[in-house]
C-alpha cells in the first residue's frame, strides 16, 4: 500500500488512526489491557467512561512522550514513560471526581489502574517515542477508540443480558429474568471469550479463503 510506504518517512496518514480500530485492535487482536476490560464492563456506561478515560490518558501521554522523545535517553525511557502516564492518570482521576462522584465510585480503583494498562506503555514504547507528535496523537486516538469500542461490545452485551437494559434504558418487559451471571466476574470472562471466539472464527475463515484464491486476485 502506497500509504504504508510514505509512513516510513514520518508523514501522517489516516492509517495511523484506522489501524487501532480493527486491524490492530488492542483488546481483540493484541489482547492488551485486559484487567479493566473485564472489571468495569458490567454496564455500558461504565465501559464508555473507562474507555474515554483511557483514550484521554493515551492521547496525552503519547503527545508528551513524542514531544520529549529526543530529550529522554534510552536507559531511563521506561521510567520516564511510567512517570508521564502516572501523571495523566492522576489528572484524569481528579477530573472524574470533579465531574461525577457516582461515576468515580463505580469505577473505583480501576481509574488508577489505567497506569498499568500495558496498552499505554506499549504505545509509548513502540510508537510515540519514535514518531512525530501529530502521528502519535492519531495513533493514540485510534487505539483509544478501538479500545473503547471493545469495552462497549463487552459492557453492552453484559448489561443487556445481565440487567435487561442498555445505558440505563430498560429494554425488556418487567417479566424478563436477567442473567445475573453476566454482571458477575464469570460473566466477564465468558463474554470476552465469546467475542474472541467470534473474531477467531472470522480470522480463520479469511485465512482459509486467502489460501484458496491467491492467484485469481493478483
Amino acid at each position: 500500500m502506497a500509504g504504508a510506504d510514505r509512513n516510513a518517512a514520518g508523514a501522517m496518514s489516516t492509517d495511523d488512526f484506522i489501524k487501532g480500530l480493527w486491524r490492530e485492535n488492542p483488546v481483540f487482536v493484541q489482547v492488551l489491557g485486559m484487567c479493566p476490560v473485564l472489571a468495569v464492563t458490567n454496564s455500558a456506561i461504565n465501559a464508555l467512561a473507562m474507555g474515554l478515560a483511557t483514550t484521554f490518558v493515551l492521547v496525552l501521554s503519547n503527545t508528551l512522550v513524542a514531544t520529549l522523545r529526543h530529550f529522554i535517553p534510552r536507559q531511563v525511557r521506561i521510567a520516564t514513560f511510567i512517570l508521564i502516564i502516572a501523571t495523566f492518570v492522576t489528572v484524569v482521576d481528579y477530573l472524574i471526581q470533579a465531574i461525577s462522584l457516582d461515576l468515580h465510585r463505580a469505577l473505583g480503583a480501576f481509574i488508577s489502574l489505567i497506569v498499568v494498562n500495558c496498552l499505554i506503555l506499549g504505545r509509548a514504547e513502540a510508537f510515540a517515542s519514535k514518531n512525530t507528535v501529530a502521528r502519535s496523537v492519531l495513533d493514540g486516538l485510534g487505539m483509544g477508540v478501538g479500545f473503547t469500542f471493545a469495552l462497549l461490545c463487552l459492557g453492552g452485551a453484559r448489561e443487556i443480558f445481565g440487567s435487561g437494559s442498555l445505558f440505563g434504558v430498560s429494554l425488556f418487559p418487567a417479566a424478563y429474568q436477567p442473567w445475573i451471571v453476566m454482571i458477575l466476574p464469570s460473566g466477564g470472562f465468558f463474554t470476552l471469550a465469546l467475542w474472541l471466539l467470534l473474531f477467531n472464527h472470522f480470522k480463520l475463515r479469511r485465512q482459509a479463503r486467502e489460501s484458496v484464491v491467491p492467484e485469481v486476485t493478483r
Binding site: P73, Q75, V76, T80, I84, V91, Q97, L101, I180
Partner: protein, 238 residues
C-alpha cells in the same frame, strides 16, 4: 565535544543527561498534577458536601439543615470542619424550627462479599433509628443488593428501637436480625429471604455502631442543640 568523551563513555553512558531527563520530566509532571489538584479541589469538595447532605437528609426525615460535630478528647462534641475523618464525625440534622431531628452516623463492616458502608439516623427524643441508607456495598447483584432497595427491608429502619439501658452506658436490647416475618420486638430487623448473611451484616454493623455512639449522643444531645444556635445559618441553606 562528544567524540573524545564518547570513547570513554562507551562503557559508562553520560550521567548528566539521565538526571536532566528524569528531573525535567519529574518537574513537568509535578506541575501538571498540582495544577489539576488545585483547580479541581473546590469542585470535588462541593460535590462531596452535597452528596453527604443528601444522604443525611435521607436518614433524618424532616431535617432541612445540618451541622457536623466530632468527638473531642474531652469527651464532648465540637463543631467539625469539612476535612475531618468520617469515623469520628457525626452529623446533626435540624428541622425548620431549628430543633434537633436526630444525628446521622456513618458505620462500616464486613458484608457477604465485601465491606458495606452505611449511614443511619438516630433520634434521641424517640430513642430510635429513624433511617438507614447504604452508602456503598458490593453484595451479590439480585440477592444481597436487596439491602439497598427492598422496601420491606427498608421499612425496618423507620423506627428501630435503640433505647438506653438503666445504666445509661449500653442499649437495652442490641439490634439483631431475625428470619423474614418473625420480627416480634421493635429492636429486631426482618431479614431478607435469600440474603440472610447480608441482612445479618447490616444488623451487626448497626449493633456495633449503636452500642458505641447511641449512649454518647443520648447523653450529650443538649450540646448538639445548643451548638446549632451558635452556628446560625451557616449550614442552613448549603
Amino acid at each position: 565535544m562528544q567524540s573524545a568523551s564518547g570513547q570513554h563513555n562507551a562503557a559508562h553512558p553520560p550521567v548528566w543527561p539521565l538526571y536532566r531527563a528524569l528531573v525535567g520530566v519529574g518537574l513537568v509532571c509535578g506541575l501538571l498534577i498540582v495544577s489539576v489538584f488545585v483547580l479541581t479541589g473546590p469542585v470535588i469538595a462541593r460535590n462531596e458536601a452535597e452528596a453527604l447532605q443528601r444522604a443525611v437528609f435521607q436518614v433524618l426525615p424532616g431535617a432541612v439543615a445540618k451541622a457536623s460535630f466530632e468527638l473531642g478528647p474531652d469527651g464532648s462534641f465540637h463543631p467539625a470542619d469539612q476535612g475531618s475523618a468520617p469515623q469520628g464525625t457525626v452529623h446533626a440534622g435540624y428541622d425548620t424550627d431549628g430543633h434537633l431531628v436526630g444525628v446521622a452516623i456513618e458505620a462500616q463492616g464486613m458484608g457477604y462479599q465485601d465491606t458495606i458502608r452505611l449511614l443511619y439516623g438516630y433520634a434521641p427524643q424517640s430513642q430510635a433509628i429513624i433511617g438507614m441508607e447504604v452508602l456503598s456495598s458490593k453484595e451479590t447483584p439480585g440477592l444481597g443488593d436487596k439491602i439497598e432497595k427492598d422496601p420491606a427491608f427498608r421499612a425496618n429502619f423507620r423506627a428501630l428501637d435503640v433505647s438506653i439501658a438503666a445504666d445509661g452506658r449500653s442499649l437495652q436490647r442490641p439490634v439483631e436480625a431475625v428470619k423474614s416475618g418473625s420480627k416480634t420486638l421493635s429492636s429486631q430487623i426482618d431479614g431478607i429471604t435469600g440474603a440472610t448473611i447480608s441482612s445479618k451484616a447490616i444488623a451487626a454493623i448497626l449493633r456495633q455502631s449503636s452500642a458505641q455512639w447511641v449512649p454518647l449522643v443520648y447523653r450529650l444531645q443538649d450540646e448538639l442543640e445548643g451548638e446549632r444556635k451558635g452556628e446560625g445559618q451557616i449550614n442552613g441553606g448549603g
